[in-house]
């Protein structure tokens, strides 16, 4: 799941809940799913440090033309 997918689903759940037309069981399930999605998104943003990786240096790898 990407952040964007999780966020989109979270927004859909919020809208559904705010309409108030879900059954109680359903509402409870939606709420739990929403919290789960929230935690997933928050964890992605909270990753303290990003990562810079270097692809194997190409500069000195002479390549035959063509």
């Amino acid at each position: 799941m990407t952040y964007e997918e999780a966020e989109k689903e979270l927004v859909r759940i919020v809208e559904r809940l705010e309409r108030g037309d879900a059954s109680l069981d359903e509402a409870l399930g939606l709420w739990e799913r929403g919290e789960e999605l929230y935690r997933f998104c928050a964890a992605q943003l909270a990753a303290a440090e990003g990562k810079i990786e270097e692809l194997a240096k190409r500069v000195d790898a002479a390549r035959p033309a063509g």
């Binding site: 952040y3 964007e4 979270l10 559904r16 879900a22 929403g34 929230y38 810079i52 692809l55 500069v59």
Partner: protein, 380 residues
């Protein structure tokens, strides 16, 4: 020309001249081609039948000696000077006496900035006609790429600028950097290879191609047809940040987004983490609010149902009573009582209703019932 070896038993041995001639005749089979280079060591003397010069790559420094008959050279009226860029049409040949390779020039064309620009314009028109720069080809950038590819020079300030912009706006970003040549004759092919390499890495959702400012010639690889096609054909969106604002290399036109500087490119490919967090906590608040609202609506509905349930028995009795009263009214309307009240009487003889005057004779005892009672009578 057949080159004959000397024979010493089994061993074939060639004289230097024969070897050179052999190589020279082999070289003659090579095709006639165009070579681009800078003119250096131009030597033209009235006493010589041939004009000599050396062609050099401006960056790599590779050299190639070239020669052209003086009459042909003069007929071109190029007034060439050392340092000028030319295209030479010719074929390789060996100067047999010295075994020196040189290009036998058949034609020379000056290839200065003007010619460069003209060639670029032709390429631009051709690629535009193919639809490579079309607006509908542009893809939206991912809002939050899992991984960002960065293709840039190895000591480039551009690289630092992109990384700084990305990390300050979105600290958790993951970047895959491919350092490559960004100028010189090998740059275009190297950049294409680097672009393909980062795209092939897992989870790379967007690629930045960045290079700081440079001369017109420095930026030429960014207009190379191979690179432009690679940018257009890249499986993920590409953001270019090449040179300064006023430079528009062709790869900018093929890119999905063009940034004015490497820093701007960095800001384009990641969201602002603070904005994301704010949006996320809004969503979470909405989640709690929505759940509470759903609960409240259900509670309200329950209370309404309970109230109706509570009132149900009284309602039922009331409804029965009304129905009863109505039935009683209708019953009364139908009973003979109402008729007697209006002054009519019921006559019986021996307990039988008297319905006809012919069913009694004078002297019969009859009973007469009126509204408030009955009395006996006798028929006359």
């Amino acid at each position: 020309m057949k080159v004959e070896p000397l024979l010493y038993g089994d061993r074939k041995v060639y004289t230097v001249a024969a070897f050179n001639r052999g190589v020279a005749s082999w070289l003659q089979r090579l095709p006639t081609i165009w070579v681009e280079g800078e003119v250096t060591e131009l030597r033209r003397q009235a006493a010589w039948q041939t004009v000599f010069f050396t062609l050099k790559d401006p960056d790599g420094g590779a050299c190639l000696r070239a020669a052209m008959p003086r009459s042909q050279f003069d007929a071109l009226r190029l007034d060439l000077r050392n340092g000028e860029r030319v295209h030479v049409y010719g074929r390789p040949e060996l100067w047999e006496q010295k075994a020196e390779l040189r290009l036998r020039a058949l034609s020379i064309e000056r290839f200065g900035i003007g010619e460069h620009l003209a060639a670029l314009e032709r390429l631009k028109a051709q690629l535009a006609a193919e639809g490579l720069f079309a607006e509908e080809r542009k893809r939206p950038l991912p809002r939050l790429p899992r991984r960002i590819g960065l293709v840039t020079g190895n000591d480039a300030a551009a690289k630092r600028d992109v990384l700084t912009a990305i990390q300050s706006r979105f600290p958790p970003a993951r970047v895959l950097v491919a350092e490559t040549y960004v100028q010189g004759p090998r740059a275009a092919a190297e950049m294409v290879a680097a672009l393909e390499a980062v795209c092939a890495a897992p989870e790379v959702d967007v690629v930045v191609l960045a290079r700081g400012g440079g001369s017109f010639e420095d930026l030429l690889p960014f207009s190379d047809e191979r690179l432009v096609r690679a940018v257009a054909g890249c499986p993920v969106p590409v953001v270019t940040a090449v040179g300064h604002e006023q430079d528009t290399p062709l790869c900018d036109l093929a890119a999905d987004r063009r940034a004015s500087t490497p820093s701007a490119a960095g800001r384009l490919v990641v969201p602002d983490v603070d904005e994301l967090l704010a949006g996320l906590s809004r969503a979470r608040a909405g989640l709690a609010r929505g759940a509470r609202r759903t609960l409240e609506l259900h509670a309200l509905r329950l209370a309404q149902r309970h109230e109706r349930l509570r009132r149900a028995p009284a309602l039922l009795v009331e409804r029965r009573r009304a129905a009863l009263a109505e039935a009683g009214g209708r019953l009364r309307a139908l009973s003979p009582r109402g008729t007697l009240d209006r002054g009519y009487a019921i006559v019986r003889r021996d307990g039988e209703l008297v319905r006809s005057a012919t069913s009694v004779v004078a002297g019969d005892a009859i009973a007469v019932e009126v509204a408030d009672g009955s009395f006996g009578a006798r028929v006359e």
